[in-house]
Point group: C2
Chain length 283, copies 2
C-alpha cells in the first residue's frame, strides 16, 4: 500500500455515542491527541441504548457510522459500551479499510493488567451486562479470571442529573455494589466502569468499594489504543502544535446536549458548535 | 350524522405511550371499561420522551397515531404526559373525526377539584415541567391557582428499576420534593403525578409529602373522560358482559416489555400478545 498522504492524515476522527456519556471518551481522546480534529455524534433522539435490543442498537450504530463516514473521518471510535458490544464486528465488516475501535476490548485489557487476583467486577447498563461482552473479553485475555457482572440501571440517570457526590448518592451506589463484595466470595480487586457515564461517579464509587479496589474506565485506554493505531498507520495529524477543532452532531435537542455536556467533558461545549442532524437521512 | 353502527362500536381503543409507563393508564381504562378491546402501543425504541425535544416527540406521536389508526381504533388515548403536552392538538387536526384524549387536561381537572387552597404542585419529567402544559391547563380552569412545577428526572428510572418502597427511596424522593414544601411559601394541598411512571411510587410519595396533600394521577380521570366521551358518541362496545382483549405493540424489545410491564399493570402481560412493529413503516 502507498503511504498515507498528508491530506488523509488531516481528516478528523469520528466518535460515536448514544448521547452525552461518550464525552468522557472524547475527553480522553482530546487529552491524548490534542492536535486532532474530532467529530462527535451523540444519538440523542434514541438515547439510552442500554435498555434497547441488540438489533436496534446495531441498526442505530450502522446509521451513525454512515453519518460520520460521510464527514470523511479517518478513524471511528464507538464510545458507547452497549454499541461496542453489539456493533463493532458489523461496522468493521462494513468499512474494512477504516480503523474502528470500541471501548470493550481496551477496558478489558486495562482490567487484566490492573487486577492481581483475577477477581474482576464489571458494572454497566442492563444491555451491556446481560450481553456479557466484557465478561467474554476479559476471559479471552485471562482465562483464569473470575468476572462478576452487575447491571447498575440507575447510574446513568444519576450521572445525567449531576448527582455525583454526597451521602445519599453513596447509599444508592452501595445498594447496587453490595453484591460485588458480599461475604460469600473473595473480594474483587478491580472494577471496570463499563459505561461511559460512570467515570463522573468515580470518586463516589471509590468511596463505596474501598481504596483497595482499582477502578478501570475504558476512556484513557481507548484513547491510547487509538493513538497507537493511528501512529502505526502513519495517520496522526502532521502538525502537533495545533489544537484540534471539535464538532458536535446530535440527532435531537442540541440545547440540552450543550447544557448537560459540562458534566462529562472538561471543555465547555459551545452551543454554536452543536449541529442537529436528521436521523432519516442516515438510513 | 347517522348513528354509529354496532360494528364501529366493536372496534378497539388505541392507547399510545413512549414505553411501559402508560400501562398505568391502560390499567385504569381496563378497569373502567373492562368489556372494551384495547391496543397499546409502547414506543420502546425511542423511550424516554421526557428528555427529547418537542419536535421529535410530536413526530413520534404522529407516527404512533398512524400505526393505531391503521389498526382501526375508535378512539385514541395519548397516555404519555410529554406527548400529550406537545402533540394533542396536532393529532386532533390530523384525525378530526377520531376522539383523541390526552392525560394533561383530565389531570388538571382532577387537581382543581381536589385542591381547596388552590396551591397545587406538579411533578413530571424535565420535558413536561419545562413545557409548562400542566401549569397552563390548571390556570385555565382555575385562574387563582398557584402552581409549582418540579422536574423529577430520576423517578422514571426508579420506577422502571422496581424501587417502589423503602427508606432509601424516600430519601431520594425527599430531595426532589423538598422545594414543594419549603418553609417560605404556603404548603401545597394537592400534588399532580404528571408522569405515567409516578403512580407506582404513589405510597412512597405520600409518605414524603404527608397525608394532608392529595395525590392526583391522570389515569383514573382520563379513563372516566374516555368512558363519558364514548358513551355520548354511542361508541361503547354493545356487549358489557365480555372481557376485552388487550394487544400490545412495541417498537423494540418485546421480552423486556413483557418483563417490566408487571410493575405498571395489574394484569400479567403475556409475551405472546406483544408484537414487535417496525418504526420505519410508520413514517
Amino acid at each position: 500500500m502507498s503511504a498515507v498522504s498528508q491530506a488523509d492524515a488531516r481528516r478528523p476522527i469520528g466518535v460515536f455515542d448514544s448521547g452525552v456519556g461518550g464525552l468522557t471518551v472524547l475527553d480522553a481522546i482530546h487529552r491524548a491527541l490534542p492536535w486532532e480534529d474530532l467529530v462527535y455524534l451523540g444519538d440523542t433522539a434514541r438515547v439510552p441504548y442500554g435498555t434497547k435490543s441488540a438489533d436496534s442498537v446495531a441498526r442505530y450504530a450502522r446509521q451513525a457510522a454512515l453519518a460520520l463516514v460521510r464527514r470523511n473521518v479517518k478513524a471511528l471510535v464507538i464510545a458507547c459500551n452497549t454499541a461496542s458490544a453489539v456493533a463493532l464486528d458489523v461496522l468493521r465488516e462494513s468499512y474494512p479499510s477504516l480503523p474502528i475501535l470500541g471501548v470493550i476490548d481496551p477496558g478489558a485489557e486495562a482490567s487484566c493488567r490492573a487486577s492481581r487476583s483475577g477477581r474482576i467486577g464489571v458494572i454497566g447498563t442492563e444491555g451491556t451486562i446481560q450481553g456479557g461482552a466484557y465478561q467474554r473479553a476479559i476471559q479471552r485475555l485471562r482465562p483464569d479470571a473470575i468476572v462478576t457482572g452487575q447491571a447498575c440501571s440507575l447510574f446513568v440517570a444519576l450521572a445525567e442529573e449531576g448527582w455525583t457526590d454526597g451521602e445519599l448518592l453513596e447509599q444508592v451506589l452501595r445498594r447496587y455494589l453490595a453484591p460485588l463484595s458480599s461475604g460469600n466470595q473473595p473480594r474483587i480487586d478491580c472494577l471496570v466502569l463499563g459505561c461511559t457515564h460512570f467515570p463522573v461517579l468515580k470518586s463516589a464509587i471509590a468511596n463505596v468499594v474501598g481504596d483497595d479496589v482499582c477502578l478501570v474506565d475504558s476512556a484513557a485506554t481507548t484513547a491510547a489504543a487509538l493513538y497507537q493505531q493511528l501512529d502505526q498507520l502513519g495517520e496522526l495529524h502532521p502538525e502537533r502544535e495545533r489544537t484540534g477543532a471539535i464538532d458536535y452532531l446530535v440527532t435531537d435537542g442540541p440545547d440540552r446536549f450543550a447544557r448537560v455536556a459540562g458534566t462529562f467533558f472538561s471543555r465547555a461545549v459551545d452551543r454554536s458548535n452543536v449541529e442537529l442532524i436528521d436521523i432519516p437521512q442516515l438510513a
